[in-house]
Assembly symmetry: C2
Amino acid sequence: MALAADVLGDRWTLLILREAFYGVTRFDDMQADLCAPRSALADRLRRLVDAGLLKKTPYREPGSRARDAYLLSERGRDLAPTFLALTAWGEKHITRQPAPVDIRDSETGARLRVELLDDQGFVVPLRRARLRLRR
Amino acid sequence: MALAADVLGDRWTLLILREAFYGVTRFDDMQADLCAPRSALADRLRRLVDAGLLKKTPYREPGSRARDAYLLSERGRDLAPTFLALTAWGEKHITRQPAPVDIRDSETGARLRVELLDDQGFVVPLRRARLRLRR
DNA sequence: ATCTCTGAGTCTTGAAATTGAACTTAGAGC
DNA sequence: GCTCTAAGTTCAATTTCAAGACTCAGAGAT
């Protein structure tokens, strides 16, 4: 997780990833949403691409030249459970309101949630969870 | 999640929380583990206490005066699923090795994992997950 | 009482990162 | 050509950070 902190441990990076999860893919849109300095945004996007979480992908608006959008790569999308767990935490402890986002099953359309499961697939409430260091 | 990024969006904070999850509670132990500058560590611990994620708790080593340890509060422990999901991500994409930690059910001792569940409690593989913005 | 030791910080100062705003660039269409 | 736009880049001013020396409070020894 040390390396995760290296990439994610930054005021803008988490917010940029949230934008990416929300489907915002363009520089100026992110800049407008986050009010981040353009230089900071450019720098973080570059790092996220270098780290393989985002992927520059060309797109073309009719009447404009080709540009690059920033899409989540597989590695980035794999942060979805982390993202969803963090969102749930924020709903409970910070905003006390549902976040304007959910994750759904692409096949059934069911709304998904993150849970702790034991080895038999039973849901275990958070209060029973204990962390253990192996050695 | 904006506020989450406010507290967590920092190079040291994530690592400090990891220490806390690993059961390290004392200033000098964390300092030795992380090699963080003492001033940075003091500052981040203060913020985490202010944000309610850690709780200063007096302890006393025989032959020493009373000091404060930093324990996860309930709000902090509620980050366990986030933490576990992030750890799983790191195992898959960064270290490619199991992290030296697991979360267990305090009643059965079973090792726990984080999964996405649909509304009927069935596990849904990550690849079928789609994020949707509600409006 | 005084001395010394330890864990937990604080202080100081040079180095690095960040901000905000203006500027640049590459192509599309007129 | 000329102009327009999204996507950056550049730069001076400011803010934050790092490293390590220093301080502090109490405990036990002398």
